[in-house]
């Protein structure tokens, strides 16, 4: 390894190759291993971390790794859930950190933003807002995520603008990727200097290769996403419902008419989305307490003044017909960040959620279950039965519910997003259940709850997310996975790109 390190240093400069114990420790875990403090998802250390400064350097490192048969991994913001950027095994690979590559440029005519992998979602959002553009898909978990990596890993669902604009993947316009061979591939809007901002083609689209591939097909060095003009006006509406089913029926009606640019139905204790835009975690905690018994729909509108006014009025009419009640202003005030999101600017949120459910910073929390559903009916079913399953586990484990820590309780929360699948405003969405637990002794219980949800998910029918090391794509979807492996073989015959993450480790 010493020799390899020397060679790496020659490529990127001695300062930009690190092998010390802290580096290895830092790059061996992410939010997920971290939440469970290593108990649910183990950490794997890289041998070294390399900070390339350019695509050329990325290329050189790849060429070296191929020759020396060393696995390569990549990390963008490093905030991904489900260990997508952690080596597949302890002490086998080199990890790329791209934070030296932070360039962001906006092309006004083609309406695309080009970002290098080290640029954060927050930086991109700030720059675009300055230029009066918006980027509608959600920026992912936290402001520190890289702009394009979120969409390789998670879905980039914008809870408040999703159903018109789709997800991150729907907004990708083109990319530049270094393949395992060291060759550079430029697709879609980046195929040529003047390529239009169109991701599809010519012929079969390669722009989508990196999504959810966790660096398995190649290392992306630049990516372009489409932008939207800033709307004249943005508005939101928050309506409470006595039952989940009345909320869902109402939502179907709204979706059918395609009013609003995005909407979310939330079950009791609807903290998830409340906190996504609360100004402070304490404000969010307050909200959680206030919403323990209610169901909620939140939606955003954008466009001309007349459009926002008309759609808002029309939606109030529809929702009230299904026993919805428009929420009081003080509550709405907490939720205002969503409007910025609808306009296309990031509002930073998820960390606040963690802040809340971690309460006093001595607990962990874990997403027990979550996934993208394709219809509201299935979401409703999942949410309803999921809550019951959760309550049963709680009843079986009274110490969980009666724990003195105020936040050590499951906030089973349902964020459903009508969205995103291609921006077709047909129902689709995700449900997230989060368990908060104070100490590791709760892990078995968390495991029990997780198992219940997993079984339910399969029964109701949901395609696996394929996030990180979600092995369900390998085991449950052979008709898909065998094709993915064919592509993998073509793109990376030696299999040294991120083995053990999106593709299994070869033994």
């Amino acid at each position: 390894m010493k020799e390899t390190v020397k060679k790496l240093q020659k490529i990127v400069g001695s300062e930009w190759v690190r092998t010390d114990s802290l580096t290895q420790y830092f790059y061996s875990s992410d939010v997920m291993t971290y939440f469970g403090q290593g108990a649910l998802y183990p950490s794997n250390k890289p041998l070294a971390v390399v900070y390339p400064g350019s695509a050329k350097e990325v290329q050189a490192v790849i060429n070296l790794a191929r020759k020396e048969e060393i696995p390569l991994y990549a990390i963008g913001g490093g905030t991904v859930l489900l260990i997508g950027s952690i080596p597949g095994k302890n002490d086998i690979g080199i990890t790329f950190d791209f934070h030296r590559m932070q360039k962001i440029t906006v092309d006004k005519e083609r309406m695309v933003v080009r970002a290098q992998p080290g640029a954060t979602g927050l930086q991109v959002s700030q720059l675009m807002r300055e230029m009066d553009f918006g980027y509608r898909p959600y920026f992912g978990g936290s402001p520190g995520t890289s702009l394009f990596v979120p969409y390789q890993v998670f879905t980039g669902q914008n809870k408040m603008a999703g159903y018109q604009d789709g997800m991150g993947i729907n907004c990708a316009a083109g990319m530049e990727m270094v393949l395992a061979s060291g060759e550079i591939l430029r697709t879609g809007s980046m195929a040529h200097k003047q390529s239009p901002g169109w991701p599809h083609g010519p012929g079969p689209a390669l722009t989508y290769l990196p999504f959810f591939a966790n660096a398995g097909y190649g290392i992306v060095t630049e990516m372009e996403f489409r932008l939207f003009p800033t709307p004249q006006e943005v508005g939101s509406l928050w309506v409470t419902f006595p039952t989940l089913s009345s909320a869902c029926t109402a939502m179907y009606e709204v979706m059918k008419k395609e009013y609003a640019c995005g909407a979310t139905v939330m079950g009791p204790g609807c903290w998830t989305h409340a906190l996504y835009s609360s100004q402070h975690w304490q404000e969010g905690a307050h909200f959680v307490k206030a919403t323990q018994d209610i169901n909620l729909i939140g939606m955003s509108f954008r466009g001309s003044k007349a459009k926002v006014a008309f759609e808002r009025k029309a939606c109030i009419r529809i929702l009230e017909q299904h026993s919805g009640a428009v929420m009081p202003d003080w509550m709405v005030a907490i939720l205002d960040g969503h409007e910025a999101n609808a306009a296309g600017w990031q509002q930073c949120n998820s960390p606040k959620i963690c802040g809340t459910f971690n309460g006093k910073s001595d607990s962990g929390g874990i997403f027990v279950s979550g996934g993208v559903f394709d219809s509201l009916e299935k979401l409703e079913d999942y949410m309803d039965r999921g809550m019951k399953a959760y309550q049963q586990v709680c009843r079986d484990n009274p110490e969980f519910l009666s724990h003195p820590h105020p936040t050590v309780r499951l906030y089973a929360s349902c964020g459903q997003t009508y969205l995103s699948m291609g921006g077709h405003s047909n129902a689709a969405g995700e449900v997230i259940f989060v368990v908060d637990y104070a100490r590791r002794e709760f892990l078995p219980m968390v495991g029990a709850i997780k198992a219940q949800f997993d079984a339910l998910m399969q029964e109701i029918g949901m395609a696996p997310l394929g996030v990180g090391r979600d092995k369900r794509t390998w085991t449950e979807c052979p008709a898909h996975f065998s094709m993915a492996q064919i592509i993998k073989k073509a793109a990376d015959p030696q299999g040294f790109l991120a083995p053990g993450v999106a593709f299994p480790l070869s033994e």
Binding site: D20, L22, D30, V31, Y34, F35, L122, Q126
Partner: protein, 382 residues
């Protein structure tokens, strides 16, 4: 702090990366949208989350102290940005508390010697030139003299006769009665003791200061050095208010007009210890306005101000790195179009001199005030 306490605090950081960036809604230039001096320069474990990982690893026994850990620890300028940002709404990682704790528990042999020297200097007053102040009618409260308000003499001021002279001149010109412990100075405490991990010493010194303030019935303490202001504010139990000298200047400008300065537009560096630590953002700006200067704000200002790079003892430990940190700030200075950078902190001033572009000037706020009231420098000898 026990290991468990340290771990609980460190676990609060979930590595969300928010503190990588500034939190304004929009930025005109992505080059100025990152914030942590060490993180934006060296990335990875040099970012706040990396430092939190040191704490986590040490507390859990996953990491052992070594040179590499120390290198990362002492690349942080303790600018306080991450802590401030995190508590603004994201989480509530007490980053500064954790970082200070790490500097305490790091094994002696890994502590940079220069930091220890600086800490020692902040503990005991050295040969001083405070008598200069007497020339300007400042009352020595260490003897029989009394005064409600005193000037605090820190390590950067205590032997600096020209700066003392400027300040003395301004006090005299303002017509205010001010005291100072002149013949028997107070311990010239400042951040250096924390940088060196000697918070216990600092606390002892501040207790001594508190006793003497009480003995003398002091009602208010004016600090020239923001690093003293911030530690006194944090650790004093005296109940006496500690204020920045810039407040004195702001009041003075209201009462007595200065002469017009010939300066084109200026910009201002919010020192970390004056701003984020002591929450003093307005007085320096009032002074700049009162002097009739046009202020062109940098993008990262007030609580989003980017550290000059000198903090945490960096100027002593690794001046080259401090200079690298300052470079990005100089770019932002240039981007404002201002040719003069005003600072209100002796360390910022010193560090910004490193790597100063040829066509730019750097001015200490006190010197600027003195100039505006006709101070020529000849007064110093009197």
């Amino acid at each position: 702090m026990t290991k468990q306490e340290l771990l609980d605090k460190a676990l609060s950081c979930n590595r969300c990366g928010t503190c990588r960036g500034v939190t304004q809604d929009a930025v005109p230039n992505a080059d100025f949208s990152t914030q942590c001096p060490s993180g934006m320069t060296l990335f990875g474990e040099y970012e706040p989350a990396g430092l939190m990982y040191i704490a986590r690893g040490i507390a859990q026994g996953d990491l052992q102290w070594n040179k590499d850990l120390a290198k990362v620890l002492y690349s942080c300028t303790l600018c306080g940005y991450c802590d401030d940002l995190c508590s603004r709404g994201y989480r509530h990682t007490p980053a500064v508390t954790i970082l200070e704790e790490l500097r305490k528990i790091v094994p002696q042999e890994l502590k940079p010697r220069s930091l220890q020297k600086a800490a020692a200097a902040a503990e005991v007053p050295k040969q001083h030139k405070l008598a200069v102040l007497k020339n300007y009618g400042v009352i020595d409260v260490s003897g029989s003299g009394t005064a409600d308000t005193i000037l605090f003499a820190d390590t950067t001021l205590i032997a600096n006769s020209s700066k003392l002279s400027e300040i003395g001149f301004l006090i005299k010109t303002s017509g205010r009665k001010l005291g100072c412990f002149i013949d028997e100075p107070l311990p010239p405490v400042e951040q250096a003791l924390i940088n060196g991990g000697q918070q216990d010493v600092l606390e002892r010194c501040v207790a001594r200061i508190d006793r003497r303030l009480k003995q003398k019935g002091i009602k208010k303490v004016v600090c020239y050095n923001p690093e003293s202001l911030s530690v006194l504010k944090r650790f004093s139990r005296s109940g006496v208010p500690f204020v920045s000298i810039t407040q004195l200047y702001a009041e003075m400008l209201k009462k007595k007009s200065p002469k017009k300065l010939k300066l084109s537009a200026v910009t201002y560096q919010d020192p970390c210890h004056l701003g984020r630590y002591a929450q003093e953002y307005s007085a320096p700006r009032q002074v700049i306005a009162g002097l009739g200067l046009t202020l062109k704000e940098m993008w990262r200002s007030r609580n989003n101000s980017l550290c000059c790079g000198a903090g945490g003892g960096m100027l002593a430990v690794n001046p080259q790195l401090a200079k690298r940190y300052a470079a990005n700030r100089w770019e932002e200075v240039s981007a404002t179009g201002a040719k003069t950078l005003i600072t209100a902190c002796p360390y910022c001033n010193a560090n910004f001199r490193q790597g100063k572009p040829k066509d730019s000037k750097i001015m200490d706020l006190t010197s600027l005030m003195a100039q505006a009231y006709g101070y020529t420098g000849k007064e110093a000898g009197k």
